[in-house]
């Protein structure tokens, strides 16, 4: 007489099969949900970038970046600049003589160069290989000038960490993920 009983082995196999189906269903469900999210929305947030309208030049970008020299650099918007002789980003506050003596200059690494254009204008350029992203010049320029010096993450230097360490330290939440179209948030448009 053959009775329709379930032996321990077949019970085990049944549970195994159920679990297998659950696991497969979980993969399909998560993929479906994620794909729907990704297709119905805008470009993916891939790049880390500083929103200059939020940046407060606190100086943390210099220290917090995982790179030995921060991927954040100062950028100069020529079209915003006033080309002043007494530049708040180039000279420290209350300088006596407007010359290139180190004690007069704002930039600790000497990354800002200036060139005489015509009276009374000077053109300022940033040597990015020297810039450490401390933001001192940007702070000066924003307090006394047009704000043409500002900080941006240089995308070719940025390691694109899954979680930007600077963004966690930024006091104003200025560093956010941005899609490709906003990989740079430039001032001189």
């Amino acid at each position: 007489m053959k009775k329709n009983t379930t032996t321990p082995i077949s019970r085990k196999r049944f549970l195994h099969l159920c679990s297998r189906i659950t696991a497969g269903a979980a993969i399909v469900a998560v993929s479906g949900a994620a794909v729907r999210r990704m297709t119905q929305q805008r470009d993916a947030d891939y790049f880390w970038q500083i929103d200059p309208s939020k940046c407060t030049f606190c100086g943390r970008c210099e220290k917090e970046c995982v790179l030995a020299v921060s991927a954040v650099k100062c950028i100069h918007a020529n079209r915003v600049c006033g080309y002043c002789d007494l530049c708040g980003g180039y000279y420290r506050a209350n300088v006596k003589d407007l010359n290139t003596a180190a004690e007069n200059l704002m930039c600790p690494t000497g990354a800002i160069r200036r060139e005489y254009v015509e009276d009374p204008y000077f053109e300022y350029t940033i040597d990015e290989s020297l810039c450490n992203g401390c933001g001192k010049c940007a702070k000066g320029c924003n307090s006394f000038g047009n704000g043409s010096l500002y900080l941006q993450v240089k995308q070719e230097l940025c390691k694109n960490c899954n979680e930007c360490k600077i963004s966690k330290a930024c006091p104003s939440g200025a560093i956010q993920r941005a899609p490709f179209g906003r990989a740079y948030m430039l001032k001189d448009v």
Partner: protein, 429 residues
């Protein structure tokens, strides 16, 4: 991915008009008389699409190679070669971001927070190893993951850890995974990325503490198999679930002669020797034990949930806004001449305490709910681990614990039957 066609190697400036003009015009634009022209400039945006494609293709190719090697050919050499390629390419060349382990957080965040859009590469990095694990076991861990590969390559000696130690430490990945999810859904932090022990080694720079920890793990993995994979990796925990129920899988050589060599060779203690359970249990006793488990499980979950709920306020300090609020409150009670930077910035941006308070209350409430759920799951994990330890099933043959097996293939070289078969194959040819 959306707008893939738009992707160019470099972006010309006029294309970027997304940002409103934020500059304050204290000084008027100069009128140049000497015919001065504004210097032209471009800011290059590296085209990562191409590299991401290479990443994904290599990921799939390497996983296929490992799957073929360990399931069909029962050989370790291809796994070894894949390990070297993985360490060099994914590790030292690509510097690890975004990796499959960290992508857990991106996936969770994108599922729970609609304001975050996940890159396709991150999703594929997450889901492809899961799919492959479901099909063939943990072949991603075998050597495709640069972390596993790195530990595997330095592993020389296998000191077996006691069952108690590995059981206790084995709970950590689950707790780590649950905490990673907790901190990701509350948008607090990506702890997997923050406490990544090997990324500093691959990048040859970074947080000194984590590099030191990574170094210690590597030294430990010389003497015992893959300490990170077994006792820390949250993705490994996730994959072990799918590996347990994988469709095709690595197996003990069919003509096993019970020589115990593979058991000794396994770096992750995934091969279980035969075992005879001499404790004879009556049916009634078994039923009682099962009932006890059914009581024990919810009790543990409840205890975990309660504990984590109590701790949720402390846990929530990982969130930036919560920390800011604490600083603001401290500053209100005891105002200092020089405010902390964060507080100063908060007020300078027109933030009000009321607005911050309501935001903090919302985040705190989120933390309460999620940490309660996390606690319940931690309780579940601990309870299941304990129940598993109390189960003693009789095994007549050598078996593989597929949840633990990382498919590294070290056992193949030790199996005399496997070698014999291989020689026979070669002789046939």
């Amino acid at each position: 991915m959306n707008g893939t066609k738009k992707r160019m190697i470099s972006l010309l400036l006029p294309a970027l008009s997304a940002l409103p003009a934020v500059a304050q015009n204290r000084f008027p634009k100069p009128d140049f008389e000497s015919g001065y022209q504004y210097p032209a400039f471009t800011y290059a945006v590296p085209d990562e699409t191409w590299w991401n494609t290479v990443d994904i293709i290599l990921l799939v190719a390497m996983m296929s190679v490992v799957a073929l090697a360990v399931i069909r050919q029962r050989k370790r050499r291809p796994v070894f070669i894949v390990s070297i390629i993985s360490v060099l390419y994914f590790g030292f060349f690509r510097n690890g971001c975004v990796c499959s382990i960290g992508a857990i957080q991106n996936v969770i965040l994108s599922l729970t927070d609609s304001s975050y859009v996940m890159p396709l590469a991150a999703f594929l990095m997450f889901i492809l190893p899961v799919i492959f694990t479901f099909l063939f076991g943990r072949i991603f861990c075998a050597g495709v993951c640069p972390f596993g590969a790195l530990q595997e390559l330095v592993n020389i000696k296998n000191f077996r850890l006691s069952k108690a130690v590995s059981a206790v430490l084995g709970v950590i990945p689950w707790i780590y995974l649950l905490f990673a999810v907790l901190y990701a859904v509350t948008r607090s932090s990506f702890i997997i990325c923050r406490f990544d022990p090997f990324i500093g080694i691959f990048r040859m720079g970074g947080d000194i503490g984590m590099i030191a920890f990574g170094g210690l793990l590597l030294i430990a993995s010389v003497f015992t198999g893959r300490p990170f994979c077994r006792f820390l990796c949250p993705y490994g925990a996730l994959l072990s679930l799918f590996s347990r129920y994988s469709i095709r899988r690595i197996s003990i050589t069919p003509s096993c002669i019970n020589c115990d060599l593979c058991h000794n060779a396994c770096p992750v203690a995934a091969i279980r020797p035969p075992y005879e359970n001499r404790v004879k249990e009556s049916r009634m006793e078994g039923v009682k034990r099962l009932l006890a488990y059914f009581v024990f499980l919810p009790v543990m979950m409840f205890a975990g949930a309660y504990m984590m709920r109590t701790a949720s306020d402390a846990l929530s300090t990982a969130n930036r806004d919560i920390r800011l609020y604490e600083q603001v409150v401290r500053n209100e009670i005891n105002p200092r001449d020089i405010q902390p930077v964060d507080v100063e910035v908060f007020f300078s941006q027109g933030g009000t305490i009321d607005e911050l308070e309501s935001r903090v209350a919302k985040i705190g409430a989120g933390f309460k709910t999620y940490s309660t759920a996390t606690g319940a799951l931690i309780g579940l994990v601990v309870a299941i681990t304990l129940i598993n330890l109390s189960l003693k099933r009789t095994r007549k043959t050598y078996g593989i614990d597929h949840a633990a097996c990382v498919a590294c293939g070290r056992c193949f070289g030790y199996c005399p039957q496997n070698i014999k078969h291989k020689h026979a194959d070669e002789n046939c040819r």
